[in-house]
């Protein structure tokens, strides 16, 4: 049964003289390598140029805020439950009077940590979140000198404030929205 058209019959003919003296094959090979000198280079000059990500790329996480700068996360723990690598831990706290501008709901995450050494970037936390709070961005997981610094707290995760730092916010937000749109288009 033929599955692909890549199958080739084994050629057991004795070699011709041209094949035996080996040189024509070498010259042919040299011709091939020489022609590659003039071909287009595939190198991407990394710090200056970056490669576009696939629309389904999953990078580092962020914790989202709404348009007024309030944190979306209510510390329900669904992401931690969904996480197959058990990388997410959190402590919930109750919002005090006067903190309405900080947290959207009455409950919030006082501590939210993702261990990036455990995380497998599967994106299940993103899918589990009922409050649109956690997203995976198009950022690489950076290198670090100690294992401790791979545990990302709220200071590393929460998106920049939309009013205090609108530029950084739209940048972070834009990447997500653009990506989602692209992914939706493809679906």
């Amino acid at each position: 049964m033929q599955l692909t058209n890549k199958a080739k019959l084994v050629d057991r003919k004795p070699m011709s003289i041209a094949e035996k003296i080996y040189l024509p094959a070498i010259f042919k090979g040299m011709g091939i390598t020489f022609s590659h000198i003039f071909k287009k280079k595939v190198t991407i000059q990394y710090p200056e140029q970056t490669r576009p990500f696939s629309p389904v790329f999953r990078g580092l996480h962020i914790l989202n805020r709404d348009e007024e700068g309030r944190e979306n996360c209510t510390a329900c723990g669904l992401c931690a439950v969904a996480c197959p690598a058990e990388a997410i831990t959190m402590d919930a706290a109750e919002r005090l009077p006067g903190e309405e501008h900080l947290y959207r709901e009455e409950k919030y995450a006082a501590k939210y940590e993702i261990n990036m050494l455990r995380c497998i970037f599967c994106g299940l936390c993103e899918e589990a979140c009922p409050k649109d709070a956690i997203y995976l961005t198009e950022t690489f997981a950076p290198a670090n000198y100690s294992r401790q610094s791979f545990i990302y707290g709220k200071d590393n995760l929460v998106i920049p404030h939309p009013k205090e730092n609108p530029e950084a916010f739209t940048k972070a937000k834009g990447l997500i929205d653009e990506r989602k749109a692209k992914a939706n288009q493809q679906m």
Partner: protein
């Protein structure tokens, strides 16, 4: 009473010239490492080193600096003296050959005629062969002193390979010597300037010589001495920092010198254009000598490029295939070439 009059100006002029040639070969070897990486990159559709300085031209300096500052390890079970002698010997023998190569014609300077050749000895090509066969001692001593089986295997391979290919190289050269009737490299270049380049007379001989030169320089496809997939790193497994650098560097100088020898023997040396009398251009002797030196340098660069080109095309031979090619392929071919040349000379002289 003066028994021996010493021409001090000659000594000085030779001294300066030797220093100059050594500097040039070191700089060329330095930039060959860069060139090698660039050629490799181009052939593999990459860009190659381009970060250090404009177009990456400071890369060799950065590499050299790295070699200097790396930790130097001498294995405790090694023979310390021989361990240090190995790379030094490889380097010295690589440099020595440049003494008999005519780098250009004569130059008139300060009322003196200066020959652009360190020593025009009348056994020039024998000297080259003598030094070349000494070159393997650097590798062998290094591999023996490392006290490591894999290094020793690499050294053994290098030794047997160089001995095997030296034979074919010598026989190919005998055919050339029968035609030119001289062993002096300077004389050979003069003959080629007036007549044909030896390549047109001895294409087969040149080809055998080229293949053997690849083997003698330990270049791919004949770099069996340093097969990393079988022998860790080959003869230099135990070497680190600048001693390793010396071994690698000696290989590049060897390439430079053997390119120079090939250009001199078969491609007219400092002759600029074949079958053409360049004196018709009416330049002064000094300028002609410089142009000739530039022509030789260009030919050398072309050969170096071929060395690199082949390296990134042809994969490494297996050891038995290498020996087969040397003993059963090249030596009979060289003998055949010699006999045919002898017959033709005999026929034409009658």
């Amino acid at each position: 009473m003066i028994l021996l009059a010493v021409d001090w100006a000659l000594v000085l002029e030779k001294f300066i010239f030797i220093a100059f040639i050594i500097t040039v070969s070191l700089v060329v070897a330095l930039y060959m490492t860069f060139g090698e990486r660039k050629v490799a990159a181009w052939i593999q559709d990459r860009v190659g080193p381009n970060r250090a300085g404009p177009f990456g031209i400071l890369q060799p300096l950065a590499d050299g600096l790295k070699m200097f500052f790396k930790e130097e390890i001498i294995p405790t079970s090694s023979n310390k003296i021989l361990f240090i002698l190995g790379p030094s010997l490889a380097m010295i023998t690589a440099m020595l050959t440049s003494a008999v190569i005519p780098w250009g014609d004569k130059v008139e300077l300060f009322g003196r005629t200066i020959s652009l050749q360190i020593a025009d000895v009348n056994i020039g090509i024998l000297y080259v062969f003598g030094i070349l066969s000494l070159g393997v001692y650097g590798i062998m001593i290094g591999s023996w002193a490392s006290n490591n089986k894999f290094s020793l295997m690499g050294g053994l391979r290098a030794a047997s390979q160089i001995i095997s290919y030296e034979l074919a190289m010598g026989i190919a050269l005998i055919a050339l010597i029968m035609i030119t009737g001289t062993l002096s490299l300077g004389e050979m270049v003069k003959q080629q300037q007036e007549g044909w380049w030896n390549f047109f007379v001895q294409p087969l001989g040149f080809f055998i010589f080229l293949v053997c030169a690849f083997a003698e320089c330990n270049r791919t496809p004949f770099d069996l001495a340093e097969a990393e997939n079988e022998l860790i790193g080959g003869y230099h497994s135990e070497y680190s920092s600048l001693k390793l650098g010396f071994y690698l560097f000696a290989e590049y100088i060897n390439m430079f010198i053997s390119s120079a020898v090939m250009a001199t023997l078969y491609f007219g040396g400092y002759d600029i254009i074949p079958f053409y009398d360049e004196s018709a251009w009416g330049f002064s002797a000094n300028i002609m000598a410089l142009l000739g030196a530039a022509a030789l340098f260009f030919k050398i660069l072309v050969f170096i490029f071929i060395f690199m080109w082949v390296r990134w095309t042809v994969p490494r031979f297996r050891y038995d295939q290498l020996m087969n090619l040397g003993w059963k392929g090249l030596i009979p071919l060289a003998l055949f070439n010699m006999l045919v040349t002898a017959a033709v000379i005999l026929f034409l002289k009658k």
